[in-house]
């Protein structure tokens, strides 16, 4: 049955937590009130990506795009847009100049994007398999089962040039081919959905918005390499994604798209979910497999590679969520088509989680080779609050910074590595002039100290040493020798650590040291933190604006401010704990921070 209108409500975690559920229910009630149940379908979809302006509601076929919708807006949307065919201007997106855009094509955030991985996110109801099928879902699985040999599938993947989106960028077809070539009665397919990089959430959004695409892709790989069992290893912290995967798996089994003799063919394949339990190291392949086996998630040396000797010592293909999401499209549209997108050595698109000090934070998908400038300024709308751009951290705790100088570099796997960073899972954290590069490096190092599994000493001791030195520098106690030590320890870790976590853990330190050497020098030689983030290096003073109102002296938790009423006060710097309470409370702008 076709409806006249479709109202799409974002049901991603970000929007759900901003009352998208109430909006959905109110819209349904208002549609019923207006007697439009037979003409209008209200759908809860996956993430639209524009999280900054959520919750988002879109009305089709008008393509009306409403941002920051509240539950009480439901009535107006139904009465105006659905009944009278008018746009509710108040809810349309307005850019800085005040120009409103009621359709997504006009919004800067969407203009340079190209959606392959997120093709169904924000468009279909992820809890209904029919909607996925209506968008060519499972056509790729049907095609491989009845029209292609396993070798042809791998050849198509080779032509596409798809590289692993989990971070390292290893060619996907090669992993599949290794596993295919090994003789074994049992083989496994694994989906890595243990998205542990703080500040990245593209995998979660893909699973929540389009779970069937992952199931279909895993079945295709199962056919190509000769595996009958798949596992999805997913963070327990993503309950909505787990729920939607469970629904999708049950529906796929019911339709004969998972289980015995898929679509009547000789091929059988099924998938189970295994929960992670909050260990960043489990994103590393061998640690992840140990965790699926129910053990402590500690990595083992490679080789042997999992493709040859993986889960329970059987050949295992492991790909990350975003990699899987590309597979069905490559099969239906062809590897050649996919290879035509992006750059020569990095084909296709990449999803980035654009966050930090940026105006439009959200999920963006762009062709590989898009420059950082396009992402930060054209899509992201630039820096919040008119501050100056400082750097972007890519690759999270394993990556590094990209500075203003490199803002026009086309982003792909190889250019990022050449710049001393890495693609990682796709987190992109924008920093402005108020962020201290040493503070950020320290933040990532603290993360690595906590997440190091402790098995090998370069990582266990190295992360701790780096953290201690950074702390020393941030407290104004650093020496020039410390900078040499940071480099020496970092380089040793890169060479000697057992797994990817330890080998990349020094990256944020080494890259910030390389690009922001002068800031390290300032901290060490001038005892100064220009961003005012390193507490031990800032001093609060009172200037002549002071009227002697005594408010700061009363608010100071350590009683270090003194002075007579109606006289200028002074701060005793030796006692000050730099909590900033005085500055926060002063009504006369009399407190200065240096």
């Amino acid at each position: 049955m076709a409806y006249k209108h479709y109202v799409l409500v974002c049901g991603g975690t970000g929007c759900e937590s901003s009352k998208a559920d109430d909006i959905f229910n109110n819209l349904k009630a208002e549609v019923a009130n207006a007697g439009l149940e037979n003409d209008v379908q209200v759908v809860k979809t996956g993430c639209f990506g524009f999280c900054e302006k959520g919750p988002i509601v879109k009305v089709l076929p008008e393509d009306a795009f409403y941002v920051e919708v509240k539950p009480e807006d439901a009535e107006e949307i139904v009465k105006e847009t659905l009944v009278k065919g008018r746009i509710v201007k108040r809810l349309a997106y307005a850019d800085e100049s005040g120009k409103t855009s009621a359709i997504p094509e006009e919004i800067g955030f969407y203009q340079k994007q190209m959606r392959i991985v997120l093709r169904n996110c924000g468009l279909i109801d992820p809890e209904k398999i029919d909607e996925y099928i209506a968008r060519d879902g499972y056509a790729a699985l049907e095609k491989v089962l009845f029209e292609m040999t396993p070798d042809e599938v791998i050849e198509e993947m080779k032509i596409s040039g798809l590289r692993g989106r989990g971070g390292a960028g290893f060619p996907t077809w090669m992993k599949w081919n290794f596993t295919k070539q090994v003789e074994s009665d049992v083989k496994y397919i694994v989906c890595n959905a243990d998205e542990g990089d703080p500040g990245a959430y593209m995998d979660r959004s893909t699973l929540e918005g389009d779970p069937h695409s992952i199931l279909e892709a895993m079945a295709i790989a199962g056919y190509a390499v000769g595996a009958q069992q798949g596992f999805i290893y997913i963070r327990a912290e993503y309950p909505l994604a787990i729920k939607r995967l469970e629904i999708a798996m049950a529906q796929a089994r019911e339709y004969g798209l998972l289980g015995q003799n898929i679509l009547g063919s000789n091929f059988s394949f099924d998938i189970e979910i295994r929960l992670g339990a909050g260990a960043f190291v489990c994103g590393e392949e061998t640690a992840l497999l140990a965790s699926i086996e129910g053990k402590r998630g500690m990595p083992t040396p490679k080789p042997p590679f999992p493709a040859v000797c993986g889960l329970w010592k059987k050949p295992t293909v492991i790909n990350n969520v975003e990699t899987w999401a590309n597979v069905p499209v490559i099969i239906t549209k062809g590897g050649k088509w996919f290879a035509s997108i992006g750059t020569e050595k990095s084909s296709g698109t990449k999803v980035f989680a654009l966050t930090g000090k940026i105006k439009n934070s959200g999920l963006v998908e762009v062709p590989m080779g898009t420059t950082l400038r396009e992402i930060v300024y054209d899509i992201g709308g630039g820096i919040k609050g008119g501050k100056a751009f400082k750097a972007v951290q890519t690759g999270g705790p394993s990556g590094g910074v990209i500075t203003a100088k490199m803002i026009d570099t086309p982003i792909d796997f190889d250019n990022l590595i050449a710049a001393g960073s890495m693609m990682g899972s796709g987190g992109m954290i924008v920093m402005d002039e108020d962020d201290c590069i040493i503070d950020v490096a320290k933040f990532y190092q603290e993360f690595c100290v906590e997440e190091s599994c402790g098995k090998c000493s370069p990582c266990r001791i190295g992360t701790r040493k780096l953290y201690d030195i950074l702390t020393k520098i941030s407290e104004g106690k650093g020496t020039m020798q410390d900078l040499d030590q940071l480099k020496e320890i970092g380089e040793a870790m890169k060479r000697a650590a057992l797994c990817g976590l330890g080998q990349t853990a020094p990256n944020p330190v080494l890259s910030s040291l390389h690009y922001f050497y002068d800031e390290y020098l300032e901290h060490i030689q001038d005892k100064k933190c220009r961003a005012g983030k390193c507490k031990k290096l800032i001093t609060y003073t009172i200037n002549d604006n002071c009227r002697g109102c005594t408010l700061c002296a009363r608010k100071c938790p350590v009683n270090c401010i003194s002075g007579e009423v109606r006289q200028k006060h002074t701060i005793d710097a030796t006692k000050c704990i730099k909590c900033g309470e005085c500055m926060k409370n002063c009504k006369f702008d009399a407190i200065e921070k240096k």
Partner: protein, 160 residues
Amino acid sequence: MPTDQKTETVFSKELENFIAEWKEKPGNLIMILHKVQSEFGYISRSAAMKVAEMLDIPLAKIYGVITFYHFFKLNKPGKNVIQVCMGTACYLKGGQAILDETAKHLNIPVKGVTDDGLFSLESVRCVGCCGLAPVVVIGDEVFGKVLPEQMPEILANFSE
């Protein structure tokens, strides 16, 4: 910390069935521990001992796993668990100040529980709502774009 030994060795029928169903499956331990934690809110020593007995594996193996993964809790959390996100986006936007303010307001350290058992405080790594940074999660409810000074008011709603 006092624990009610008696109730935590009594598993619900559902939990017992789950363990029976998974008992023979390879790699079952983490899945079973998740189920135990979702029933009690944490994994007590007595519950861990019972699982060891039911699966016929050493208690040390269970503790090896529980202490390795951040998600598993060894101590009973408060009625309302406050999770302050300390992912990168939230950190840059002031997550630390929210954590400090909440700890000060409740007069407990991070990972602590209030005396009345009403709240416990944790810092977590990225809840995946970076567009809403800085984020605080209390129970199932997510609060976005939080300012430190809003915390007392937010917490007051959970104080019954």
